[in-house]
Amino acid sequence: MIRLLTFRLNGRERTDAVADNVLLLDHLRESVGLTGTKTGCDGGECGACTVLVDGAPVLSCLTLAATVADRSVETVESLAEEGRLAFIQEGFHRKLGSQCGYCTPGLIMASEALLRRDPDPTEDAIRDALGSNICRCTGYVKIVEAVRWAAEAAAAGRAGATRSAAP
C-alpha cells in the first residue's frame, strides 16, 4: 500500500508518496537522494545507517519509512551549516576518526545524539554510546578522541572562544 508520508527531515517538513514496505534507509537514499546515510550490514548489526528520530539514534535499515510519520528525522547532511563543518564532523576530520569513512556518518549521528544529552562525556560514556556502531577499520581510539575534541571545542565555543578554521 502506498500512502502520503509527512515528516520533518533535517528541519524541513516534507510529504512523500511511500509504500508501506519501504525502509527508512532506502527512502532517504533512493527517493530523497540523501546518500550520506550508509547501507552497511543491512541487518541491524553495524550502525552505518544510524539516523536520529526525534533526537534519538535509530537504525534506519530496520525502520519502516511509514512509521516516522509526523516525527523528526535528522541525517548527517543536517550538521554542516553554510558549508562549515559541525564540531563533531570537524573532530572526526582533525583527529583522523575517519579512515575508509563508511561507518563515519552513523558514528557521527550516534555521537551527535550523545553530545546533545551529555555535552561533556567521559571516555566510558563515549564507548557506551557508540556500542551499536562498528568501524571495520577498527579506528576506535581516534573516534573516541574525535568525540572528545568536539565536546571540548563546543565548550570553548560556548565560552566565547573564536572558532578556528578547519585545516
Binding site: M1, A19, D20, N21, V22, L23, D26, E30, D42, G43, G44, E45, G47, T50, A56, P57, V58, L59, L62, T63, L64, A66, T67, A69, A110, D128, A129, L130, G131, S132, N133, I134
Partner: protein, 327 residues
C-alpha cells in the same frame, strides 16, 4: 534498494484498536522496535504477513509504575527507558542491569519490553539468508522437517535469548498481562514459554502482551550477568539472573534463571535445597551440579553447547558470590 514483501501497515493508538485490527487481519504481525521482526522479514524468515500492526503509537502500552514492592512495565516501554529509570535502578537493579545489557545502545533505544519478552528463538540454522537455509533444506523451526542441531528430535532446539525474562523470573509473582479477542487475562511469566523453540510462546493468535508485572521482596538482592562474543552488541551465549537473600552469614533464599541456553528462559529448580547454611564451596559445587543437569545448551550458536553450559555455571557462581558478599 531492498525489495520486501508487500504488506499494509496499520498504526492503531489504543489497545482496543489493536485488538480490533488483529481480529480483522488474522496472520498479521505486531511491529515494535523492529530489531527482531524486521531483521527476520528481510531474511525471508517466517511467512510474509499481509498486515503489520505498528504498536509504537499505542499510548496504553507505555509507562513504568513502581508501587511498594511491585513493578508494572508496559510492553511498549523501550529497553533504554527501562534501563535508565531511576526507580528501576534503585529497587530492581537486576532488571535494570539486564535491560542495560541488551544488544547495543541504538537497539535499546528502538527495542521494547514486549519485544524482548517475545523475542524469537535463535539458531545458526535459522538466522540465515533464504539461500543459505534453502541449501540446507530448511529446518524444523521454519520451512523444513528436520532439526540440524538434533536430527532425531521432534522439537526445535532454537535458543531463547531474551534478557528480561530471567531477570523477572527471579522476582515473585511475575505475570504477563495479555489482551485478546475475548478480553484480558494474566498468565504467569513461566507459562508464557512452551519450551519448544518452534512454537515458543503460549499466546493465542489474537493475543497481545500488554504489560508485565512482578514483585521484589525487600530483602532480595538481584543481579544479572552474561557473556557474549562481541560485548557491545551480540545475543548472550549464556545469561544469568540471580536473587539472593542473606541473613547474617546464612544463605536464606536463592533463585537463578538462565537465558541463551535452552529454548525457553530456565528457572533453575532445586536451589531451595542449597539454602539454610553458609555459602561455602560445597554449596557452590552443588549449584554447579544443578546447572549441569538443567542447562541444556545445544549447538545453536557458533560457540559449542559445552562451553555455554560451562559459562552459565561460572557466571551463576560469580554472581551469587557477588550478591551474597555485597554489604
Amino acid at each position: 534498494m531492498n525489495v520486501l514483501p508487500e504488506w499494509e501497515l496499520l498504526a492503531p493508538s489504543s489497545v482496543d484498536e489493536v485488538r480490533a485490527a488483529r481480529a480483522h487481519h488474522p496472520g498479521s504481525r505486531f511491529l515494535g522496535g523492529g530489531t527482531d521482526l524486521v531483521v527476520n522479514l528481510r531474511r525471508g524468515i517466517g511467512d510474509p504477513p499481509a498486515t503489520l500492526i505498528d504498536l509504537n503509537r499505542v499510548a496504553d502500552l507505555k509507562g513504568i509504575e513502581v508501587a511498594g514492592e511491585w513493578i508494572r512495565i508496559g510492553a511498549g516501554v523501550t529497553i533504554r527507558e527501562l534501563a535508565q529509570d531511576p526507580r528501576v535502578r534503585a529497587s530492581f537493579p537486576g532488571l535494570a542491569a539486564a535491560a542495560g545489557s541488551i544488544a547495543g545502545p541504538t537497539h535499546r533505544n528502538m527495542g521494547t519490553v514486549g519485544g524482548n519478552l517475545c523475542l524469537d528463538t535463535r539458531c545458526i540454522y535459522y538466522n540465515q539468508s533464504e539461500w543459505w537455509r534453502a541449501a540446507n533444506r530448511y529446518c524444523l523451526k521454519y520451512g523444513g522437517d528436520i532439526c540440524h542441531v538434533a536430527p532425531k528430535s521432534r522439537i526445535c532446539y532454537a535458543t531463547f535469548s531474551g534478557d528480561l525474562a530471567p531477570a523477572l523470573a527471579v522476582l515473585d509473582d511475575a505475570q504477563i498481562e495479555i489482551a485478546g479477542a475475548q478480553g484480558a487475562r494474566t498468565l504467569p511469566l513461566d507459562s508464557l514459554y512452551t519450551g519448544d523453540g518452534e512454537r515458543y510462546l503460549a499466546l493465542e493468535p489474537d493475543e497481545l502482551v500488554v504489560a508485565v508485572r512482578a514483585r521484589r521482596p525487600p530483602a532480595l538482592r538481584t543481579g544479572y550477568d552474561k557473556v557474549r562474543v562481541r560485548q557491545s552488541i551480540d545475543y548472550p551465549l549464556a545469561g544469568v539472573a540471580a536473587g539472593v537473600v542473606r541473613e547474617g552469614d546464612r544463605l536464606a533464599d536463592l533463585r537463578l534463571a538462565f537465558t541463551g541456553t535452552n529454548p525457553r528462559p530456565l528457572r533453575l529448580a532445586g536451589t531451595e535445597d542449597l539454602c539454610g547454611g553458609a555459602l561455602d564451596d560445597a554449596v557452590m559445587e552443588r549449584l554447579s551440579g544443578l546447572v549441569r543437569r538443567q542447562v541444556m545448551a545445544m549447538r545453536t550458536t557458533f560457540t559449542s553447547g559445552h562451553y555455554r553450559r560451562h559459562a552459565a555455571g561460572v557466571l551463576a557462581r560469580r554472581l551469587v558470590r557477588r550478591l551474597f558478599d555485597t554489604t
